[in-house]
């Protein structure tokens, strides 16, 4: 099945809301139907082909080309197929996603995979804030699936997430894992302040030292066996997670006691920096 290719021909002046661009919808559509798909340019109802050149039909494999940083809600609620974006993309990428795969070669805006239920999102560039988070007023963020961000990420990554995995290659800003209820966040380059604030459960792994909230309690050093399982899974995505006792160990911090929560932050201690206690 050849992919449906959408090429941006006119950059929208104001945000374009294009939640109709999903493999679930396009797999049953002819080329003419795809071109007729409704998108919102600000307040105006437009056709997809007002902004994109469309080739292909009846496929759940979509490729998009161009600077799409003003295009929001791509892949919203998708449950199958693949969406590959060559360039940058706007907010709410893969929000409420249920399955399938999204790949972005550039940067992505805020709310990537917000409240997603399953699926896989890989952003090679930087991500915005609220990745895998719950929308304002909502109790639960992402409930399953995997999000990988190659570069940096913004505020409130994994806010109120319930399950699933988020991996961020670059530095993450404040409130990572805010009110987290479960799942795992892996920080390859650490985070700024207030990591794990108000977390109830879940695990945050950091390969770099983190400034911790006063409401986290140091709970020893160890090499948990579940890290080996994570490491094996993440190796398939090209990410290496250390857990060999001869190389170092993990410092465990429990909290947040203000809730009181039972979350944990594990910070990697290389062997040459392990405190003697």
């Amino acid at each position: 099945m050849s992919p449906i290719i959408l090429t941006l021909k006119e950059r929208p002046k104001v945000p374009l809301e294009a939640e109709t661009v999903t493999p679930d919808a396009f797999v049953t559509m002819s080329n003419a139907q795809i071109r007729e798909s409704l998108v919102y340019h600000g307040k105006r109802h437009c056709r997809l082909d007002d902004f994109f050149d469309v080739t292909g039909e009846y496929s759940d494999d979509i490729e998009m080309h161009g600077d799409l940083h003003q295009v929001k809600l791509l892949g919203k609620s998708m449950s199958r197929g693949q969406l590959k974006i060559h360039g940058s993309v706007g907010m709410h990428l893969g929000a409420d996603m249920r399955g399938g795969r999204i790949e972005v070669t550039g940067d992505a805006g805020d709310w990537i995979g917000a409240e997603m239920l399953n699926g896989f999102i890989h952003v090679h560039g930087n991500g915005g804030g609220q990745i895998g988070a719950a929308y304002r007023g909502s109790l639960r963020g992402m409930r399953n699936g995997t999000i990988i961000i190659g570069g940096t990420a913004g505020l409130e990554v994994g806010m109120r997430m319930r399950r699933g995995t988020i991996i961020v290659g670059g530095k993450v800003r404040d409130f990572c894992g805010l009110q987290m209820k479960g799942g795992t966040i892996v920080l390859m380059s650490g985070a700024e302040i207030r990591t794990g604030a108000w977390m109830v459960r879940g695990t945050i792994l950091s390969l770099q030292p983190l400034p911790l909230m006063p409401t986290f309690v140091a709970s020893g050093h160890y090499n948990p066996s579940f890290i080996d399982l994570y490491a094996r899974e993440l190796r398939t995505h090209g990410i290496t997670l250390p857990n060999n006792p001869s190389v170092g160990n993990w410092a465990r911090h429990c909290g947040d006691t203000s809730i009181p929560g039972r979350g944990e932050i594990l910070i990697w201690n290389p062997a040459n920096q392990i405190p003697k206690d």
């Binding site: 109802h45 409130f175 604030a197 006063p214 947040d256 006691t257 203000s258």
Partner: protein
């Protein structure tokens, strides 16, 4: 308790008329029956009126509030990390003990809390602490607003849409997402191609990228006077001053509506009159929504 505010200089009638000096049936001795705690990063004029002044390090508000929540629940807190906030465990424990023993506590928070690093989460931390103190005694929290009638805008938006701010109507119904639809974020990202400013001066208060964007796009300002924003706007419509030469309603900080009666006549139209005439002119334009499309609130 005042947190990140300086009412002695910014709300000079607050102590005497509402919080400290008033005598009442249950507090007949007025000020002597009350305890005031001030939390701020520096000593201000309000410190003179406070029984207890807690000076915290800048940017540590969220941490202190979270520690207070942990102490309230009898949980362990890392004592060396408390020292980084500029306070001691004894000070914070004393704070919680007093709060628990109070018959009716009220927390007021200013921009020193809500506009520093952490922003909405700082406010959320204080509101959550107030909510959790209600397990022991009655406690409420209220923001100390900066500009005139900000509360009015929040109340009206809440009443009309269910949300106080950060709302879009582009689908014909209100959607709420602060950070995405709030004015400052929309302007900083350059998401708008026109702006209508009513009774506000974002040109004086918003970050430079937002001001630059306002200067780039067609901006219309309705204001009685020349402001930073009106100078960069394409159109400035001078309107009469509400409460002096135009009637209206202003909302007090505690959301009490106060009717305004004009004392003078003005040659200028009111904001309401200008917006009504703009609406009428827009309604006369041809309909652009395709058949069967949703109608907007304005068009209903």
């Amino acid at each position: 308790m005042y947190w990140g505010g300086n009412p002695a200089e910014c709300h000079p009638r607050h102590f005497t008329k509402y919080t400290l000096m008033q005598k009442s049936k249950f507090l007949p001795r007025g000020r002597k029956d009350r305890t005031m705690i001030l939390v701020d990063i520096r000593e201000t004029k309000s410190g003179g009126a406070a029984d207890i002044f807690l000076q915290i390090r800048p940017g540590k508000d969220f941490e202190v509030l979270t520690i207070l929540r942990a102490i309230l629940k009898g949980q362990h807190v890392n004592e060396s990390a408390i020292a980084e906030t500029g306070l001691t465990l004894e000070q914070l424990t004393d704070f919680i003990d007093r709060a628990k023993k109070a018959k009716f506590g009220c927390m007021f928070f200013g921009m020193g809390l809500s506009m520093t690093r952490g922003k909405h989460m700082n406010s959320a931390a204080l509101l959550t602490l107030a909510a959790e103190l209600n397990a022991f005694t009655k406690f409420v929290a209220m923001p100390m607003r900066g500009h005139g009638n900000v509360t009015g805008a929040d109340v009206i938006m809440r009443w009309q849409t269910g949300f106080p701010f950060g709302i879009t109507f582009n689908r014909g119904y209100p959607r709420y997402n602060p950070g995405e639809f709030s004015t400052v974020d929309v302007l900083v990202r350059g998401d708008t191609d026109a702006a209508l400013i009513l009774g506000a001066d974002p040109g004086a208060t918003m970050p430079q990228p937002a001001i630059d964007h306002l200067a780039r796009i067609p901006t219309i300002v309705l204001d009685p006077k020349v402001t930073h924003t009106s100078r960069l706007a394409r159109v400035h419509i001078t309107t009469s001053v509400a409460g002096i030469s135009a009637p209206g309603t202003a909302y007090r900080m505690d959301e009490i509506p106060l009717p305004l009666k004009p004392a003078l006549k003005s040659p200028y139209p009111t904001d309401q009159e200008v917006v009504r005439r703009i609406n009428e002119a827009v309604a006369r334009k041809s309909h652009w929504i395709p058949d069967g499309g949703p109608m907007t609130i304005l068009q209903r």
